[in-house]
Structures are given as structure tokens and as C-alpha cells.
Symmetry: C2
Amino acid sequence: MKGEKCDVVDIWQILGKRWSLHILKNLSTNGTVRFNELRRLIPEISSTVLSQRLLELEQEGLITKRIYSEIPIRVEYSLTPRSKDLENILQQLSNWIVKWNAHEKKKEPKTFPQMSKS
Amino acid sequence: MKGEKCDVVDIWQILGKRWSLHILKNLSTNGTVRFNELRRLIPEISSTVLSQRLLELEQEGLITKRIYSEIPIRVEYSLTPRSKDLENILQQLSNWIVKWNAHEKKKEPKTFPQMSKS
DNA sequence: CCGTATCCCCTCCGATACTG
DNA sequence: CAGTATCGGAGGGGATACGG
């Protein structure tokens, strides 16, 4: 709870980018997934960005890329032990949000403009 | 672990922005902090951005803003119960990073350019 | 099938200057 | 002291088109 430099910030900025969480979530749910399969699971993402996110996540050691040199080529992505460990934390974050959303809703309606997305 | 709409994504995009975490961390450490005090604690942030982040965090119910109409005016920010609850999760995230950093370091040196910041 | 190359928009962020 | 107004640059993200 003190220094730890700022590695948290680094990973945070990657995970904070659009679609990162969606990707992890889908890999979590579906196990091993191919590139275009991911595109179908996340219809709004473009191949450009999907490719970027996958590269970043791979470089952070959060996903594994396996290439099968068949014809046509097949590429599969999956979570690493590291990111499976992360899943717990994300789950807690999710719980935290649900918990405090309920709170808020009761206390004050609050005028959030268009915070909802997707 | 399924739908929950995408509230996680919403808060994620806010927390993923630059300085958000620094601000929460400083409020966590120092309790109640004034605007310019925060600027001193986070020397690289501009007042423009600090102001933005504070507003976003307040709207998300993560910080409390208290205004004292003195002369000169005094404004104090502090964490809410909600964000104190969040602290735990952030701490776990921090632990997770440390844990797996150590792992990586042993297995493969890996050429991370300049991952350290701040 | 699995991406990269380009282009373009748009938001974020920082610097500076200015008000109550 | 605690911000807002404005502007400019940098980088993220999407659409399209193309290549291995």
C-alpha cells in the first residue's frame, strides 16, 4: 500500500483501453478462441483494434497465442495462469459495482447523462 | 460472471484514465486533501486535468467534495465508503502484479522497454 | 483465415491565460 | 485558492482496403 513504483498504472492503462476487458471475459467464458471467433463474439470491434489489444495483452503475459500453420491458418488465444488469477479480482470488481449500484439506486436517482454504453 | 451489462466497462474507462489511480491513492494515504495540495502531491498533473478527474470521480461516487466558503475559499476531497471498499480490490491488484512480476523476472528477462514511470 | 496499412476523426491531455 | 476557457498536439479507435 505504499510505493511499488507504478506498475499498477501501466497495466491499468492497458486494461483500461477499450475492449480489453471484453476480450478477457470472452476468453474466460469460452476457453480457447480463434481470431474471427472473437470478432463474432464482440461484433463491434474492428480487426485492427482486436489485433492491437491481443498483442498488448500477450505482451503483458495475459493471453497465449498459438499458431497452427494449416491451410487456412488457424490461430487460437487463451488465458494464461496469470490472467486466470486476475479473473478473481475482476470478479470482485464486478461484485463491488453491483453492491454499490444497488445502494445508489435506493438513495438518489441521480442524473447520469448517457453513461451506459454498448 | 455473466452479463451484468457493462457497468464494469464504464467504471473501468474512468479509472483507466490517466491520474485517476494516483488521485485515489493519495486520498487513501492522506485522508482529506485540498485541490492545490493534490497538485503538489502529483506534480505532473495540470489543474485542468485534475479538475476533470475529480469531477468524474465525484460523479461516480468515489470521492466527496466539501466546500468551505471562507476567504480564500477552501475545498477538500476525500474518499467515500464506496471507494474505501474499492481500496481492497486495488490492493489485491497491486499484490497480483508484484506476485507475477517476480515470476516473470525469474523465468525470462524479457525486454520491457521503460515500463516504469512516475 | 488472420491479420497489417492507411486514412481520418475524435477524445484525451497539457500549457497557458484568465476569473470569482 | 480553486478552478474554467481556449488552443494545439498526440494518440486511440473505426472503416476500408489489401496481403500472406
